[in-house]
């Protein structure tokens, strides 16, 4: 009787352990990226930029209520920003300033600010409130992106023309 209980316990324990390991592995396998944080965050930021350009183009074209999907993408991307800046991830290709790690709580707060403002923009667009979207978009660059770019990024040396739009 006792032996059976022990055996059941062992089996159950193993199952729990296996499930836990499986979940952990699965979580890791689900991470999208190359494993190179600099390449990954630059790719993420390109996508942030593309969505932001799209939002501005839509507002200019008189369709502010259609930006919800872009704003949602920005908000989700923002959640990933802190995970893509592990300590010491600075290479020649990176434009990140070392201040990021010296002022980590400020950096995290800046990413959270982008996440929250993008979520607000998404909700305004989802509610078809064009006037609110337009008002938010007017200051979004400076207040959601610039507040992080100004203290934490070395500016690029050449200004790029607009991306060709599909």
């Amino acid at each position: 009787m006792e032996l059976r209980l022990v055996r059941t316990g062992v089996i159950l324990g193993s199952l729990v352990a296996l499930t836990a390991t499986g979940c952990a592995t699965a979580t890791k396998a689900q991470m999208i990226g190359t494993g190179d944080p600099v390449a990954d965050r630059q790719r993420l930021m390109k996508n942030v930029g593309a969505n932001w350009a799209d939002i501005q183009a839509k507002v200019k074209a008189g369709a502010p209520e259609t930006v919800a999907v872009n704003a949602e993408a920005l908000s989700l991307h923002a959640q990933r920003i802190p995970t893509l800046f592990p300590a010491g991830s600075l290479t020649d290709k990176s434009k990140a300033k070392p201040d990021i790690w010296q002022k980590w709580p400020e950096f995290e707060a800046a990413a959270k600010n982008l996440e929250n403002r993008a979520a607000t923009l998404r909700d305004q667009a989802a509610a078809k409130d064009g006037a609110a979207v337009t008002a938010t978009v007017a200051n979004f660059g400076r207040e959601a992106c610039g507040t992080c770019h100004t203290p934490f990024r070395v500016p690029p040396p050449q200004q790029q023309p607009a991306q060709p739009r599909s």
Binding site: R142, V154, P155, P157, Q158, Q163
Partner: protein, 299 residues
């Protein structure tokens, strides 16, 4: 006496109403309010005199560190605090420091403060700027002494450099109000764009033969873009895009300004973002008239 002891209230009521209405009338018509607004606007057009503010600290209180080949300097407290700021300086003394780089005691400012450029600011704009500086809350913050490492820098090198090498802007007799002339004034003098965007010669003077052609060794180790209209290495944005950028920080490719450019767009109490659309377009129009200069910045 009788009149004083028995006042005629029927006449006093309109008088009282008139007196009550005075403050509102005074505020609307006083030249000082318009002057202050103009001063704040000029302050914004300089990028918020941002060198005098440590980010996230009280505006204009100074203390920001600048390293140069001659040593280290810290920006001055330009709040109207009487002990540590410029509260005891006369208007003329503040203008002399801004344009000519001389303190009230005759001592020269280190030209990290771009006085050779601000020399191109019109007298009316400077007067308004001073009025605005005086209206900002005073902050008690002692100036940090400079550390000059080059021997005889201030007594010999600096005066010689100023006389021989430093290009000096000249002030217009009246402030240009529209078009390319307005843009030129804002870019060359008030906005002091060349301080970062123009490459420097061996002597560290701005090389104005390559005005705004980008600086691979800009402040804070940044590579500052070429903003002449060169087709391969310069600024290719439309006038509208340049004006939008100065007002919002948004670049046409979806990127957003950061670093020192982000700072001057945002400003402190005001910045480039507060310029009117007409002024931002005037700046863009002027940039388009610059001779295109091939100068690739960055890899």
């Amino acid at each position: 006496m009788g009149v004083l002891t028995r006042p005629n209230w029927r006449h006093a009521v309109p008088l009282l109403l008139f007196l009550l209405s005075l403050p509102a009338v005074a505020v609307a018509q006083a030249p000082s309010a318009a002057e202050l607004a103009r001063g704040k606007y000029v302050f914004g057009a300089t990028g918020g005199c941002g060198c005098h503010t440590v980010p996230k600290q009280p505006a204009n209180a100074g203390g920001r560190r600048y390293d140069g080949p001659f040593g280290t300097v810290y920006s001055s407290n330009i709040t109207p605090d009487k002990e540590t700021g410029i509260g005891n300086w006369t208007d003329e003394q503040i203008i002399t420091a801004t344009r000519l780089g001389r303190r009230p005691n005759g001592e020269r400012l280190i030209p990290v403060h771009p006085y050779t450029t601000f020399n191109g600011m019109a007298a009316d704009d400077l007067k308004a700027l001073v009025a605005f500086l005086r209206s900002v809350p005073p902050v008690k913050r002692q100036n940090q002494p400079k550390k000059i490492t080059v021997p005889m820098f201030e007594s010999v090198f600096l005066p010689a450099w100023l006389a021989a090498f430093a290009p000096r802007e000249t002030a217009p007799t009246s402030v240009p109000t529209t078009g390319v002339a307005r843009g030129e004034y804002l870019v060359r003098a008030v906005g002091h764009c060349g301080e970062c965007h123009t490459p420097r010669t061996m002597t560290m003077a701005t090389d104005n033969s390559r005005f705004l052609a980008g600086n691979p060794k800009g402040p804070e180790d940044s590579e500052v873009p070429n903003i002449t209209p060169d087709k391969t290495t310069g600024l290719q944005w439309s006038e509208e895009e340049i004006a939008d950028y100065l007002g919002s920080g948004n670049k046409p490719d979806g990127d957003v300004a950061g670093g020192l450019m982000g700072e001057v767009i945002e400003g402190t109490l005001s910045g480039y973002k507060d310029l009117t659309k007409a002024d931002r377009l005037a700046i863009a129009k002027y940039l388009k008239t610059l001779p295109p200069i091939k100068n690739k910045i960055g890899k």
